[in-house]
Amino acid sequence: MTALDAGPTEAPRTFFFNDPVIRGIVYQIVVGLILVSFIAWIIGNTAANLAAQNKTTGFDFLWKTAGFDISFSLLPWSRASTYWQAFLVGITNTLLVAFIGIVVATILGFTIGIARLSSNFIISSLATVYVETIRNIPLLLQLFFWYFAVLKTMPAVRDSYELPLDSFINQRGIFFPQPLPDAQFGFVWIGLAVAIVGVLVLRRWARKRLEATGQRFPVFLTSLAVLLVLPALVWLISGAQVAFDPPVLGRFNFEGGVQLPPEFLALLFGLSIYTASFIAETVRGGIQAVNHGQTEAAQSLGLKEGDRLRLVIVPQAMRVIVPPLTSQYLNLTKNSSLGAAIGYPELVNVFSGTALNQTGRAIECIALTMLVYLILSLLTSAIMNWYNARVTLVER
């Protein structure tokens, strides 16, 4: 804009507001000012409101004793723990249910997505009914269903249903024996690690050999065998023992074993089943996006069905599937916050619920909660951008 009046061959003067650059700057200043004053107004109001209610602000409360119970926690937790620890417990509980949910939803979703494309009428209809039913009912309603209508109507502890393998299910969740491996069992883990490394080496070797001599090697079956046989052998030789601590009915509840509370189970079922219906649609779309000509070209080159899928169809379908799949994973993680409605102690419940109510630090608690989700999203989209940059098909 300074360049305008700097030149010797000055253009005919325009009314300053008709210069697009100046106009842009004016717009931006106006919008910026409005936004800043709006924020200032909010801050002012908030400060006044907080002062009127005699409330202080700040994050010092994080180091105070929380003094409440959390029904389910992977980290050590007692009433003497601090709010910061409560925050961490909330995060781990969110991540736990999200992680297991993602695994289950992926398996279920891929199965159903592929089933929808089946030429078998019954199988594809079943898959369609699943998708069209599940994704058109609110997740919260499904959580209520699993929690109140299914898991909470289980019998009382005294009348628990017995499941196979010394497990029980009742109002308080599922109880199953806790495996207690002895010291020797460490060798089995080492054996498993060695087997995994071995399989990776084997795959590389098989690939190299194929490239060098053209001979194929049954990698999949051999890998499976190595993964199973090696740890089993080590187990036998080392004489490692696994004891089981079964749940035993005590006076009021089961003692020993592992308990999965109904809140966790309901949230896990709900999240996995709901998200699977969206993943199934993603998978179906991805597979359908691969042009039929690709199959025909691969067929006419003589590639067998397995190779056709592995080398031609799946790599192309995955490019289409992975980006929306990740956003489904992110959705699942965000949706795990609905656990708050059925009492699962995930981040929102613990921190924007209990901790907020006890401390009254609304702004701090909600901001920290949102920050966690924000970081998770940013991380995911960073990974996605990296992936997309790697796999985007090069076009002219």
Binding site: N45, I123, I137, T369, Y373
Partner: protein
């Protein structure tokens, strides 16, 4: 075959295929028993259906207590739904605590809404513009005064008394209507070349999209009153609407952006070369095309919003799901083994019916738009 060539003297008439190509048996062979694996899957599927369908059917109809049944009957059965409960609480599920003698008011609102909204959905019907203007600007005012009262001798009905399906519909329809213009502005802002405006829009969109709706509703519920000048209270319904609108606008902005990106460059250039200003270009040329393109995406956002209204219990509103849950937990006079399940089943059916028909509508529009483009 000879070297001197060959000419067919008589055309071969079409004859039927050697094996029958239609009929139940052929169909079954192709779709159920094509390979041994298929036969196995079919058997598996049939077993699954036998396992699931009869109990479900019995629960919903076979062993269920009908709408005219009594609670004693409901308590006597264990394997059937208690529809009498739903029938008796229907008013609460649909209107919440709205005074029963005044129910004609929400009913008129429902009827007017359907009357104005349904023609909007049918592409063939004329007067779209007037219809839309009536629905967007006149109807909300009429509906508000009818529902809230306090004028024209209508008794006052505070929003605390509104509930059930009424609230679900109000929040989702008002939410999408308010979020729509906001979403368009955000999408345009995101495309803008002005860095300040672009940054503001991108930050808002990405921030909102990265957090769960429930945290935004927490904010609306707890922090919105703090943000307001002292002594000013924010109605709960309004809190829910603010939260839901902000949330939806960010998602709509992304939908609209998709549409804007699908418009070929030539359209922008042609509009500019006609000498139209920025807003004229957008209003007359770009947005009409972009929005038409993303109608399915908008409908899908609406479906998501409709399901998400079930979260407004956070701010203390009793939407359909919360109304059902409240009765499930508190209607002691209806307590029986399957009362709660029946209540949730009812809510599920209502939500499903709305969402499913909307998703079919979105598919219908998608097909229409696709063929429209090929021509």
């Amino acid at each position: 075959m000879t070297d001197t060539g060959y000419v067919r003297s008589e055309l071969v008439a079409a004859k039927p295929a050697p094996n029958p190509t239609s009929g139940a048996v052929v169909w079954a062979k192709k779709n159920l028993f094509a390979t041994p694996m298929d036969a196995l899957l079919t058997a598996f599927g049939v077993l699954f259906l036998l396992w699931v369908v009869p109990p479900f059917f019995n629960f919903v109809l076979g062993h269920a207590v009908g709408p005219m049944g009594t609670v004693e009957e409901c308590r006597a059965i264990t394997a059937g739904a208690c529809w009498a409960y739903v029938y008796n609480e229907m008013e609460f599920f649909i209107y919440g605590f709205y005074d029963i003698p005044q129910l004609w008011r929400p009913n008129i609102v429902f009827a007017l809404g359907a009357l104005l909204f349904v023609p909007l959905l049918i592409p063939k019907l004329p007067f779209k513009r007037i219809n839309a203007l009536l629905f967007l600007f006149v109807y909300p005012v009429v509906a508000y005064f009818l529902l809230a009262g306090g004028v024209f001798g209508l008794s006052e009905m505070p929003t605390e008394k509104w509930g059930g399906l009424l609230v679900t519909l109000i929040i989702s329809v008002v939410g999408i209507t308010l979020a729509f213009p906001l979403g368009i502005v955000l999408a345009l802002g995101r495309q803008s070349t002005l860095p300040v405006i672009k940054t503001i829009c991108v930050t808002f969109i990405e921030l909102i999209r990265s957090v769960p709706l429930i945290t935004i509703l927490f904010m609306a519920s707890i922090m919105l009153p703090l943000f307001m000048p002292q002594g000013m209270t924010v109605d709960k319904l309004l809190r829910a609407l603010v939260g839901v609108t902000l949330f939806t606008s960010a998602y709509l902005a992304e939908v609209v952006r998709g549409g804007l990106q699908a418009i070929p460059r030539g359209q922008y250039e042609a509009a500019a070369s006609l000498g139209l200003g920025y807003w004229q270009r957008m209003y007359f040329i770009i947005l009409p095309q972009a929005l038409k393109h993303v109608i399915p995406g908008i409908v899908n956002s609406f479906i998501a919003l409709f399901k998400d209204t079930s979260l407004v219990y956070i701010v203390g509103m009793k939407d359909l799901l919360e109304a059902v849950k409240t009765k499930n937990d508190s209607a002691l006079e209806w307590q029986s083994a399957n009362t709660a399940t029946t209540g949730y089943l009812f809510a599920a059916i209502v939500f499903w019916a709305f969402c499913f028909s909307m998703s079919r509508y979105s598919m219908f529009m998608e097909r229409r738009l696709n063929t429209g483009h090929k021509r």
